[in-house]
């Protein structure tokens, strides 16, 4: 087996969540690398949408963010945010959305708005953008984040984007979806419709279960048998290394 970095494993793991023909909403960074890799491997007919109105960009450099014109290069279509968020996402046509998080909690709720500093002061960050909309309305969600105890909290200090909110069914609250997975640099987690609490799905090769537990700010649901996260194949790694610049997912 070829050696691979944790970032490469995360990109490949993200890519495998995308099915062929899926409509995918991503931001730039690691999820964009996953989406491009998916299109270059098992999901050539996936459609990648950026929320401000971009379809299938084919850039080799996504620059510094969604608003960087580098990220729109080679797009199959440039349209409006109303078309992407208002028509596709709001009417239920987005299959999978990738999100980042400042904090996530045991019920899958996401905070990208503010953190409480020591002493109770609030520090305000980016807020929602399309994040709340995607978390509310995409059929499936993948959250990609670094695994740190202060980021994986029992309860987020602010719900920007809903997971299972207070543990009820999302559908009863009026939301769509509910198939949520979290990919960190240590493991993959999922939310089970019955338990609705963060459950270990697999641990990355070489990572110790105790370390995962230690670095999580709440009690994880741990199934009797914990799998190892499926490793990248040689061909996935080859395509990733040859065709997708590292800067896309490591910047």
């Amino acid at each position: 087996m070829v050696k691979y970095s944790t970032e490469e494993l995360m990109v490949v793991t993200g890519a495998r969540k995308i099915k062929d023909g899926n409509n995918v909403m991503v931001g730039i960074g690691l999820p964009m690398a996953s989406a491009i890799l998916a299109k270059k491997t098992h999901a050539p007919n996936a459609n990648i949408f950026l929320e401000l109105g971009v379809l299938n960009p084919s850039s080799s450099d996504f620059g510094v963010g969604l608003a960087d014109i580098k990220a729109w290069q080679g797009a199959e279509l440039l349209t409006s945010a109303l078309d992407v968020l208002g028509m596709l996402l709001h009417s239920g046509k987005i299959d999978i959305g990738f999100l980042g998080a400042l904090e996530v909690d045991e019920l899958g709720n996401i905070n990208t708005t503010q953190v409480e500093l020591e002493g109770g002061k609030i520090k305000h960050f980016t807020g929602s953008g399309g994040g709340n909309d995607i978390a509310s309305l995409a059929k499936r969600i993948v959250v990609v984040m670094r695994h740190q105890k202060r980021k994986l909290r029992k309860k987020v200090s602010y719900i920007t984007s809903p997971g299972y909110i207070d543990g009820k069914k999302r559908q009863e609250a009026g939301l769509r979806g509910g198939d949520i997975e979290i990919v960190t640099d240590m493991a993959v987690f999922k939310f089970n419709v019955k338990i609705k609490k963060m459950t270990i799905s697999s641990i990355h090769s070489g990572v110790n279960l105790d370390d995962v537990v230690e670095n999580t700010g709440f009690q994880l649901v741990i199934p009797p048998k914990v799998d190892i996260t499926p490793e990248p194949t040689e061909s996935e790694l080859k395509i990733l290394r040859d065709e997708i610049p590292r800067e896309i997912y490591t910047k």
Binding site: G63, G129, G131
Partner: protein
């Protein structure tokens, strides 16, 4: 909406900003570091407009500048940043210490609010926001209400329409009828201009040829004031025309972290500049602008 369909004469930036009054509600068409109407924002700061309400779907450098310069009393926005260059430091700081009143939404709920305004509706139903603290805060202020569709029984949130006094957008090109060609993804510009009572458009070029019907993003009959200002979105980027200037945006981000540095930035680059060309002269060189242009052309 303009009252007359006479052929458009473009006005100066100063004349355009003259129509903005203290306390007006402004909609901004930029997004993070792209297509910001920086030239207008500088003039608003120079004319020391106060107590503005600013609505912008995803907050940008425009918004942060206006908040930092003390022009703003209230914002409606769906979050925002300067992409990886940094946060909206002034917006964040002013929310933290309560010096501005902030109504936070998501991107789509902002778009739907503009769409409602554009269509003359006082509200719009939406399926996002549910279960979030965004909604909890809006409900506590009477800005949003839960609602059940009387036909399907589905749950919705009703959000209020936005009806700004003046929309301010930067675009690539206009023709002599005032029709505006907006290259690249449209974001929510089509909704926000239609929601607004008056529209100021700054363009890089005014074409003597009439645009084809398909190329028109903002119909000329909606445009009240047309301004010609090359590089008017600098240091943010403009699709097809120029790449952002990372150096100047980084300088801005550093300045915005510290009130003293920011005061210096405002004085040096904005308040002491007679017009936008003077700002450009102080901030960059023709050689660098030519480089940013060539970069943008390569990205088409």
């Amino acid at each position: 909406m303009r009252e007359f369909s006479e052929k458009k004469e473009s006005v100066t930036i100063e004349e355009a900003v003259n129509i903005i009054k203290d306390g007006d509600h402004i909609a901004l068409g930029g997004f993070a570091i792209t297509r910001n109407a920086i030239s207008i924002v500088h003039e608003i700061i120079r004319q020391r407009k106060r107590n503005l309400t600013v609505s912008q779907s995803v907050g940008s450098m425009e918004l942060d500048l206006l908040v930092g310069a003390g022009c703003v009393k209230e914002i409606n926005y769906g979050g925002g940043s300067l992409d990886r260059y940094g946060q909206l430091n002034w917006v964040n700081k002013s929310i933290e210490d309560g010096t501005i009143k902030a109504h936070e939404y998501s991107y789509l709920s902002m778009i739907f609010r503009f769409l409602a305004g554009a269509m003359g509706l006082s509200f719009m139903p939406i399926k996002s926001l549910i279960g979030s603290d965004i909604l909890r805060r809006l409900e506590s202020k009477g800005e949003a209400k839960e609602f059940r569709c009387p036909f399907s029984g589905e749950k919705y949130v009703l959000v209020k329409a936005l009806k700004p006094d003046i929309a301010v957008i930067h675009a690539q090109k206009a023709d002599s009828n005032g029709n505006v060609f907006l290259m690249g993804p449209k974001f929510e510009v089509q909704e926000l201009v239609r929601a607004s009572e008056k529209i100021i458009v700054v363009v890089e070029e005014i074409s003597s040829d009439i645009l084809s019907h398909e190329s028109v993003t903002v119909p000329g009959y909606l445009v009240d004031l047309l301004v010609h200002q090359p590089f008017g979105a600098y240091p943010t980027n403009l699709y097809g025309y120029y790449y952002q200037d990372p150096e100047h945006i980084k300088l801005y981000v550093e300045s915005s972290k510290d009130p003293e540095k920011f005061e210096k930035y405002l004085n040096e680059y904005i308040l002491s500049s007679d017009d936008f060309f003077e700002f450009l002269r102080k901030s960059t060189t023709l050689k660098r602008l030519a480089y940013l242009e060539s970069l943008a052309k390569r990205l088409l």
